[in-house]
Amino acid sequence: MLAFELERPKTLEAALGILADNPGKAVPKSGGTDLIIWMKKRTIHPKILVDLALIKDLSNITISENGRLSVGTNVTLNRLEDYLDEREVLPALIDACRSHSDFTLRNKATMVGNVTAAVPSGDMIPALCCYDAEVETASLEGTRHISVLDFILGPKKNALDPGEIATRINIPLPEVAGTGCYLKSTRRSALDLAQASVACVMLCRTGVTEYRLSCGAVSPIPVRVFEAEKMLRGKSNLTPSLIEHSAELAVEAVNPITDVRSSREYRLQMIRELTKRALALCQKRIQEVA
């Protein structure tokens, strides 16, 4: 790694001050499991690394009175998984936590970091898109709220301005009963990036069942399969033909590339298959709950 100075501010204001005083030179870090690798490969070489780990305000998980879950940038994936599992909320996000890297790395890696890295295969992204999550940012100019769908602009490109930090991810907890899942195709079951992935959320409003579908690793920006969601709205019984049609619409919504992990053709096949499996799994899980 090339040499740098490390700053470990204890407040968000101090961190923002360091970033503002050193434009183009200072880079913020939470877990760092992605950033440290890029620094070792010399793809990123900050003069100043701003470690956010000691900022207490960014280390908590809260649920507001209006049912909004808010996860600080320092919250590790293992802590988040335990928190959600204990409260039995956001099942697709629990699946996503468990699918990320391995248990040991999940003690360091964070959800906010996974989204900020903006890699198309980011495991947390599809589930967050299904749950209409937003990224909360802070800079000396103030705070912004950007939906995860709009936050990721392309591979490794996010909507953060220079001097701005992603401080939290906020998720409105569904008010109705439902279920969800996240399925991922990989070469090995741990420590691998997704070849393709699908998050599916099912919400049972009185009289109207709603679905949300999102695909990962098959597009430069996050994808919600709105066409399939529209088609499935109100259908509480997922027939084989509905599932088949949804899978077709998912394939039409994505645009994967061929890379070291798999070919475009394989990814399209996997999106078809994972969409079918995800819908079937949601149907199974909702019956187990009922």
């Binding site: 790694m1 090339l2 040499a3 740098f4 100075e5 490390l6 470990r8 760092g32 499991t33 440290i36 690798i37 620094m39 070792k40 690394l49 470690d51 780990a53 890297s101 391995d102 248990f103 040991t104 790395l105 003690n107 360091k108 079951s189 741990a190 420590l191």
Partner: protein, 165 residues
């Protein structure tokens, strides 16, 4: 580049070391002679540099030394009892032939220790999940899983807390 002093507890003993900000915990530990902690991929993949930081298993190649300021770091050396006797986990790995070249072993031992601290009687799935981030290229995992089971049984025979380091 400026050097900084980092102070932390290493295997129960307070240490004070001068480091550069870019130095990882892995390299710092090896420089001061804690050589059970191995340099493998240095990209967070192989798990042979696994240590405990405040009882949480961590890959030390992914942590900057300055990040452990004021915290407690445990390595495989720290599991050995004061009289020199091996920890049941270390003994179980030997007994079950869960070692061939030995390069992955310290990381496996630390990940196992963390597992047995949070789940003294783990299921097969829990064992696999806990060790998923530790790669072994020679023994194969079956003997390692057997060693974990044996360590779990051996630790239950110890007086309450005697296996805690």
């Amino acid at each position: 580049m400026t050097k900084h002093i980092v102070r932390f507890i290493l295997n129960g003993r307070a240490v004070k070391i001068e480091v550069e900000p870019r130095t990882t915990l892995l390299r710092t530990l090896r420089e001061i002679g804690v050589i059970s902690v191995k340099r493998g991929c240095e990209e967070g993949e192989c798990g042979t540099c696994t240590v405990l930081v405040d009882n949480s298993p961590q890959k030390s190649c992914m942590i900057l030394a300055m990040e452990v300021e004021g915290r407690s770091v445990t390595t495989s050396e720290g599991l050995i009892f004061p009289d020199g006797e091996l920890h049941p986990i270390q003994q179980a790995f030997i007994d079950e032939g869960a070692i061939q070249c030995g390069y992955c072993t310290p990381g496996m031992v630390m990940a196992t220790y963390a597992l047995l601290m949070r789940s003294p009687d783990p299921t097969e799935e829990e064992v696999r999940n806990a060790l998923a981030g530790n790669l072994c290229r020679c023994t194969g995992y079956v003997s390692i899983f057997r060693a974990v089971k044996k360590a779990s049984a051996m630790m239950k025979k110890l007086p309450q807390g005697a296996g805690d380091r």
